[in-house]
């Protein structure tokens, strides 16, 4: 009796809620697998999907967004390839699932203005967030950056680990079964030197999380960001969650007269 042949998986980008090959048809062999080598066009498609998904995700109630992120954690917990790193990623998702309905209380409030107006400030999503995930840790490093962006109500286009892209691409499958609407999270694999400019220079990206810890990348990212005044944050692995969340929201102040 012959041994069973394992079913090898074709790795794909996670884009607009679908698993797709790079439109360029290119792949890079990494770890014995042909990994899609995302292109400029893939970046554009991903940003377009993220922009299209942004209003719907932002409009969900904080409670609902929290439950979706919690579902993401549940789905990740149930994977068979668990490890300490995955456990930590699950815990991070649980942590941020609980942030969604706390942001307004922590960051905003009623402003005691010296005139007869109701004035209040509340955080809103900044929009489409580009994430440059670190090469390592491949999964935890990605989750650390996308979780606050999603919790704050943004949609995300992430470039996953260049050296270890397989498990991060698997994370797309986890997201795909966890009620995260299509387009809210988009994962691209490929070469940073090809993806950096189209993504960080894209006019429809509002903010960038640069977790590459690379000074040369930092300078390039900042220069690209300046073209349309994008917000750039550069958290360290130890940065606390509120400090991660703050650059991913816009504080809106509303004024309304009081009295007739």
């Amino acid at each position: 009796m012959s041994a069973r042949q394992a079913v090898a998986k074709t790795y794909k980008l996670y884009l607009g809620g679908a698993f797709v090959r790079s439109e360029s048809g290119r792949t890079d062999p990494i770890g014995g697998v042909n990994v899609p080598r995302g292109s400029r066009k893939d970046v554009r498609d991903a940003v377009k999907a993220a922009r299209a998904a942004a209003p719907g995700w932002a409009k969900k109630t904080a409670y609902n967004r929290g439950q979706v992120l919690y579902r993401f954690a549940e789905a990740l917990e149930s994977r068979s390839d668990r490890s300490d790193e995955i456990d930590e990623a699950v815990d991070l998702l649980v942590h941020y699932a609980g942030w969604t309905d706390k942001l307004a209380a922590v960051m905003g409030g009623v402003n005691p203005v010296a005139a007869p107006f109701l004035s209040f400030s509340s955080p809103e999503p900044t929009g489409v967030v580009a994430v440059l995930a670190p090469d390592s840790p491949d999964v935890l490093g990605l989750v650390r950056e996308i979780a606050p962006a999603l919790a704050a109500g943004n949609t995300v286009v992430a470039v996953v680990s260049r050296t270890k892209p397989l498990r991060p691409l698997d994370l797309g499958e986890v997201a795909g079964v966890s009620d995260i609407p299509g387009g809210v999270l988009n994962l691209l694999s490929g070469r940073l030197d090809e993806l950096l400019t189209p993504l960080c220079g894209h006019r429809d990206v509002n903010a960038i999380i640069d977790a590459t810890y690379d000074d040369d990348v930092a300078k390039t990212v900042d220069e690209l960001a300046a073209e349309t005044v994008k917000r750039v944050s550069r958290p360290s692995p130890h940065t606390d969650s509120l400090t991660r969340l703050e650059p991913l929201v816009e504080l809106k102040t509303a004024w309304h007269p009081v009295g007739s």
Partner: protein
């Protein structure tokens, strides 16, 4: 007989000029560095002029690169001592500044109007009281910072470089300095080229309040001094000004890891729905675009009218515009003062010509304008296409472009169709609609049935290319500290 007299009744007011004697100016103002007023070492001395008369008000020292470096050095030298002060003591200095601004309020208001051209009514009732309020409010934060940052560890950034514009010279200096000092930073502030005087009076106040030498340094100069300051060895840069210059600064700081906040331009939509109290809305439109001659980053320069009331609103607005009193900024009855500079007048004129060339219909108020000085009559543009330059680019003058919409969804789409996202106005008596529209507008400040209201406790700042970071309230503290240890 009586009716004839009534019909002939005109809205002329007797002149009510504020007295210049209440604000004696020195012949010359030097750079404020290290607690003293010093002559520039490699800078220049220029005349600052009254834009309403073109007369010279005083000579002002402009910093050269060496002076900028000296100011940054002075701030660096004072940083550790200032940060180490007990927080309540730091706060007391700021309370004292607030009190001194109040004491010298009349003088500050007159000088602000002389140097910048804004009506004395605005300097007196808005700029100066809000500047004092800002210092007073942030003074109280100095010893409560542990409550401002959600339990996170914090430390001052160190030396901050601050560049402010010419439209609210004293108020912007207060917006910049108060939170920086409350959080334990020392500062180098560069006032705008055309309006340095009130910042230098503030330097006198800083001196009188007894702040340690070097904690606040104020160095007037032109764009090159600002460029030198933001590129110097400061730990954080705060800039209010045009989006073009903001982008240059963001590019210049690329890869440096220095803190940056940008308060940039706008093309804010003022949206009037058919169920608004229209007379009240017209007052708000006037306030939105003609306050400070429209030299306001959050000016309501795009007026969006619901089709069913557009004609009526335009008629009422025009009638109100014709009643605006344009002229001597020192006159307490003046509504619209002088354009800040010849350069800005040229910019407004160029934009208005572009509006006419692109087919929009221009209506400018016919009014007697003084011979000397820089003036532009209140102006509205009708039949403006969304792609016209006057509908897209910031004019920064008393010019409003009018377009119409049919549904709330269309109003929101048009309002958001801009690279900017600083402010917006919403006029409706339907509360549910007001809050729904406000929540959909991509703008940092939304005024509902009001416009151009500011307060030190309320965050102010933009979405998109209107900048990032907030000023005012607890959110205004965060950019001035390093968080999380």
């Amino acid at each position: 007989m009586a009716t004839v007299e009534r019909a002939a009744l005109r809205w002329d007011y007797a002149p009510a000029p504020e007295s210049r004697d209440a604000a004696p100016l020195k012949p010359r103002y030097d750079l404020f560095i290290g607690g003293s007023f010093v002559a520039p070492t490699d800078g220049t001395v220029v005349e600052t002029r009254n834009p309403a008369t073109e007369e010279t008000l005083a000579e002002v020292a402009f910093a050269g690169p060496g002076d900028v470096a000296a100011a940054v050095d002075a701030a660096r030298g004072a940083a550790d001592g200032w940060a180490a002060l007990p927080a309540l003591e730091r706060g007391k200095y700021l309370f004292r500044i607030a009190r001194l601004i109040q004491e010298r309020a009349r003088e500050l208001a007159i000088v602000e109007t002389l140097d910048g051209g804004k009506p004395i009514r605005e300097s007196r009732d808005v700029d100066v009281p809000l500047a004092a309020a800002h210092f007073f409010s942030y003074a109280g934060w100095a010893d409560k910072l542990q409550y401002a940052f959600g339990g996170r560890a914090y430390e001052p950034r160190g030396v901050v470089g601050q560049v402010v514009p010419w439209n609210f010279p004293l108020l912007m200096a207060a917006w910049k300095l108060a939170p920086a000092l409350a959080t334990g930073n020392t500062a180098v502030l560069k006032p705008a080229e055309t309006t340095p005087l009130t910042a230098l009076l503030l330097a006198e106040i800083v001196q009188e309040a007894g702040l340690p030498d070097g904690v606040v340094n104020i160095i007037p100069g032109d764009g090159s001094a600002g460029a030198a300051l933001v590129r110097s060895e400061v730990d954080k840069v705060a800039f209010t000004g045009s989006t073009a210059v903001g982008k240059e600064i963001q590019r210049a700081l690329a890869g440096t890891g220095r803190g940056l906040t940008l308060e940039l331009g706008g093309k804010s939509a003022n949206i009037v729905f058919e169920d608004a109290a229209l007379d009240q809305a017209v007052e708000g439109i006037i306030e939105g675009i003609f306050f400070n001659q429209g030299h306001v980053c959050c000016a309501g320069s795009r007026l969006l009218l619901q089709e069913s009331v557009a004609e009526e609103v335009v008629r009422k607005l025009w009638a109100r515009m014709e009643r605006l009193r344009v002229g001597d900024p020192l006159d307490k009855n003046t509504d619209v003062g002088a354009i800040n500079s010849a350069e800005q007048l040229a910019r407004i004129t160029e934009m208005v010509e572009a509006g006419e060339q692109q087919g929009a219909v221009r209506r400018s108020v016919t009014c007697a304008l003084p011979d000397a000085g820089y003036w532009f009559p209140p102006t509205m543009f009708l039949d403006v296409a969304p792609a016209n330059r006057i509908a897209v680019e910031e004019i920064f003058g008393p010019v409003v472009s009018v377009t119409t919409f049919r549904s709330p969804a269309e109003a929101v789409e048009r309002a958001n169709n801009s690279a900017y996202g600083l402010a917006a106005g919403v006029w409706t008596d339907n509360g549910a609609k007001a809050f729904e529209v406000a929540s959909k507008l991509r703008a940092g400040v939304v005024w509902q049935n009001t416009y151009n209201k500011f307060d030190p406790t309320a965050a102010f700042g933009g979405y998109k290319e209107s900048g990032f970071g907030r000023e005012g309230g607890p959110a205004g503290l965060a950019p001035y500290v390093r968080l999380g240890g």
